[in-house]
């Protein structure tokens, strides 16, 4: 007992461990999944945020440009309407062009550059130039009035032809970058394009929102990003130039490493479809800020995961213990039930053995008995055929012969029963005419020598077919009819009725006479009636008949035994799909 309980404990412990491990695996998986998803989300969010910042900046840049455009367009319209400007351009008095325009553009050039935060509200130009009809720059007579530029920068203002719409460009001179806007000047007389005004501004500088973002402009293979030292700028310029060469898109972003620090670099074309060389806004965001954020989040998630694991540890422990408690009980219960079952099995085995032995014994005994009985019967018959004995002797011999025959019947019944018990009896089912079989037996019943004066009632249709083996069915009917006759009273009656009822045929055999006391098991083998009666059988007939009826898929039962009437009922299967045997 102690060994089994130890095994049981071990099993329960192993179950608890497995349960615990499973819970821990689930918790760990969930933590890892949460970690992975959170990390992915934060990376995507960070990139999106940076992109939004970049886009916001670009859009404020565009707003400023639009403002400048509107102001300049207005200015150019006024300029173009000026007779002096017309006169200067049309009457070949170019030297008078700048002096004529000076008054009109005075406010652009006066004063100092506004601080970046006011750039959007004031229109301060660094320089302006007019273009002649071929797109070349018209040299100003006095450069100090229109913003001095070196020859290289001034050359960058030229266009291959006069633009008919506003053009934006970026030119670099030394360490400075200028945003230039070229506005066409149309003659108010003829509508012809006569000149263009190119005005240079300080490019939009985004306010530093403490994002660590650095922005600049890339134009013509040069990167203007003063926040970085030259070496970094050079390597960055190479990367940008390569990216721009490879890309077909006007805007994109990629990762770069600047002096070991990862950065996210955004770029966007600032002047699509411009006559000036393409210029790109460049924004470099250090990834460090959101890397730190990511690390913080990692710690948070890691901590939460650890807590979850710890919680899971206790919870799973608790759960494992609580779940293994009924298991323990179950194990105990199953232990008991197993012992019980083993006992029952042993008993069953013994019973089966005994049954088998008794069956074999019964079969053996029957066989052993049959031969001497036959000898006895033949001897008695030959004695009865002799002559010369006294009449009493003949009567005695006749009784003996009758008893012998009876004994033969009992032995045959027993033999049949023992075969059934051993499971050796096979039914060769055929189509049997029940009506005919009952009729034959009723006729035989009337012809019997010791039949009492009983009235026979037949209530069944002709040709009622059932499925079964004729000789065993015959045996059932014979048994029942013999009983009905045997346990009848003088002047009594026997009623045989049969009725087909779907898949069933119900045969009822009733008789007058003494009733069977309730609670008496008349179907028991070797049963003997508790009430003394003149007639009595050997006590296996009903048992045999019921076994045979069951073997045919039907049943035999006592349905009524009261008030001078006893009725048995046998159920057979109707003979559908069974070949007929006449």
């Amino acid at each position: 007992m102690s060994a089994t309980s130890e095994t049981r404990n071990r099993e329960v412990r192993s179950f608890r461990t497995r349960l615990f491990a499973a819970i821990m695996v689930i918790v760990a998986t969930l933590t890892a999944l949460g970690f992975y998803l959170a990390q992915r989300k934060i990376t995507a969010d960070a990139e999106r945020n940076l992109q939004q910042t970049f886009q916001t900046e670009i859009s404020s840049m565009h707003k400023l440009e639009e403002l400048r455009h509107a102001a300049l367009a207005d200015r150019c319209k006024t300029l173009a309407a000026k007779p002096r400007i017309h006169a200067a351009i049309e009457d070949d008095a170019i030297d008078l062009l700048y002096p004529s325009a000076k008054e009109e553009l005075r406010d652009l050039m006066e004063g100092d550059e506004p601080p970046p935060e006011q750039a959007a509200r004031s229109l301060h130009a660094r320089f302006y130039r007019f273009l002649d009809s071929t797109g070349g720059v018209i040299k100003p007579p006095n450069a100090s009035d229109v913003g001095e530029l070196d020859a290289h920068t001034e050359a960058q203002l030229s266009l291959s032809k006069l633009p008919d719409t506003q053009q934006i460009g970026y030119v670099q001179s030394g360490g400075t970058i200028h945003e230039v806007i070229a506005v066409p000047i149309f003659s108010t007389d003829t509508g012809d394009l006569v000149s263009a005004l190119v005005v240079g501004f300080k490019p939009f500088e985004p306010e530093d929102k403490h994002t660590g973002m650095q922005s600049g402009i890339w134009v013509n293979g040069n990167l203007h990003l003063p926040a970085f030292p030259l070496s970094v700028r050079t390597s960055l310029n190479e990367k940008i130039t390569r990216a721009l060469n490879d890309s077909v898109s006007d805007q994109n972003y990629f990762r770069v490493d600047l002096a070991g620090a990862p950065q996210l670099l955004f770029y966007k074309l600032l002047n699509p479809a411009s006559s000036f060389p393409p210029a790109y806004e460049i924004c470099v965001h250090p990834v460090a800020t959101w890397t730190a954020q990511l690390n913080r989040l990692r710690w948070q998630i890691g901590g939460a995961g650890a807590l979850l694991l710890l919680g899971g540890f206790f919870a799973s422990h608790l759960v494992a213990v609580r779940m293994s408690a009924p298991l323990k009980k179950l194990a105990l219960d199953s232990e008991e039930s197993r012992a019980e079952r083993e006992r029952a099995e042993a008993a069953l085995a013994t019973t089966a053995e005994e049954l088998e032995r008794s069956t074999r014994y019964s079969a053996d005994a029957s066989h052993q008995l049959k031969s001497p009985l036959t000898v006895l019967r033949i001897g008695l018959e030959s004695l009865l055929e002799r002559e010369g004995f006294k009449r009493e002797i003949y009567e005695e011999l006749s009784t003996l012969l009758h008893q012998t025959r009876r004994l033969t019947g009992v032995i045959e019944d027993l033999l049949l029963l023992s075969r059934m018990d051993a499971g050796h009896l096979q039914i060769a089912s055929t189509r049997v005419n029940l009506s005919q079989l009952v009729d034959e037996w009723l006729d035989d019943l009337g012809a019997l020598p010791d039949s009492p004066d009983v009235k026979i009632e037949r209530e069944f249709p002709p040709d009622l077919f059932v499925a079964g083996e004729k000789r065993y069915m015959s045996l059932i009917i014979q048994n029942l009819l013999e009983n009905a006759r045997k346990y009848n009273r003088l002047g009594g009656r026997i009623r045989v009725s049969a009725l087909g009822n779907g898949s069933r045929v119900v045969l009822k055999i009733g008789n007058t006479g003494p009733t069977i006391p309730p609670g008496e098991n008349i179907f028991e083998r070797f049963h003997h009636s508790s009430s003394p009666s003149a007639a009595s059988g050997h006590g296996i007939g009903l048992n045999l008949a019921r076994e045979l009826a069951r073997l045919h898929g039907g049943n035999l039962r006592l349905v009524y035994s009261e008030n001078d009437w006893t009725e048995f009922e046998v159920r057979f299967s109707t003979a559908n799909g069974v070949s007929a045997v006449a």
Binding site: P83, A87, A93, T190
Partner: protein
């Protein structure tokens, strides 16, 4: 007294034909560009610009004789008025050295100026009652475009010539130049700011030459 008057008249008639028919004459026709609009009834001409070319509308031409002519001691005073926000006349041919005055006949300010290479000037703003009437001496031959700084659409032309012999055609392009000196000269016709036609002419005393400038 009456006799004296008659004598004077007689003498005058004797002189006028002599002076009238003295010298050579040229007449003919200048082929003018097609007018783009119906002729203006009020005989007002305006200066139009087309592809940088200035011309009168309806088209007119100035025919003049070039050569070495002696410069007269004095020049008549000429006038380009501003009336109804236009220059009248729109095209004025003058000999170099002529003074042109620009009376303002409108009720508003004008500011006549020119950036033309032949004459740059700026009269500044002035009112109709401005006295003396602002004037400019045009001493260099060439085409002067007149503009008003206040009224941007106003255009006028002064064709400054180095010859005293010039005349404007009628709208059909017909012209006649009288009292020309004999000799070998070039007859020119200014049609617009880009187009000047010319033909050599041999002028003889008392002859009228017929020259067409197609």
């Amino acid at each position: 007294m009456r006799l004296l008057e008659l004598l004077w008249l007689n003498a005058l008639f004797c002189v006028i034909p002599g002076s009238l028919f003295a010298g050579a004459a040229v007449e003919g026709r200048v082929e003018l560009p097609k007018s783009r609009s119906a002729p203006v009834q009020a005989k007002r001409y305006e200066i139009v610009t087309k592809a940088g070319v200035l011309s009168t509308q309806p088209p007119l031409a100035v025919v003049y004789l070039t050569g070495n002519f002696s410069r007269p001691a004095s020049f008549p005073l000429k006038e380009v008025a501003q009336r109804d926000l236009t220059f009248i006349p729109a095209l004025l041919p003058i000999e170099a050295g002529t003074r042109v005055q620009f009376p303002n006949l409108d009720d508003t300010y004008h500011n006549i100026f020119s950036y033309s290479p032949a004459k740059r000037f700026d009269l500044g703003r002035y009112r109709p009652e401005e006295r003396p009437i602002p004037s400019v001496v045009f001493d260099k031959p060439g085409l002067v475009t007149l503009r008003c700084d206040i009224h941007e659409h106003m255009r006028g032309l002064i064709l400054v010539l180095s010859t005293p012999y010039f005349v404007m055609t009628d709208t059909a392009g017909r012209f006649r130049l009288d009292m020309l000196p004999s000799g070998h000269y070039t007859l020119k016709a200014w049609v617009d700011s880009r187009t000047t036609r010319e033909k050599p002419v041999d002028l003889r005393e008392g002859q009228t030459l017929h020259v067409d400038l197609p």
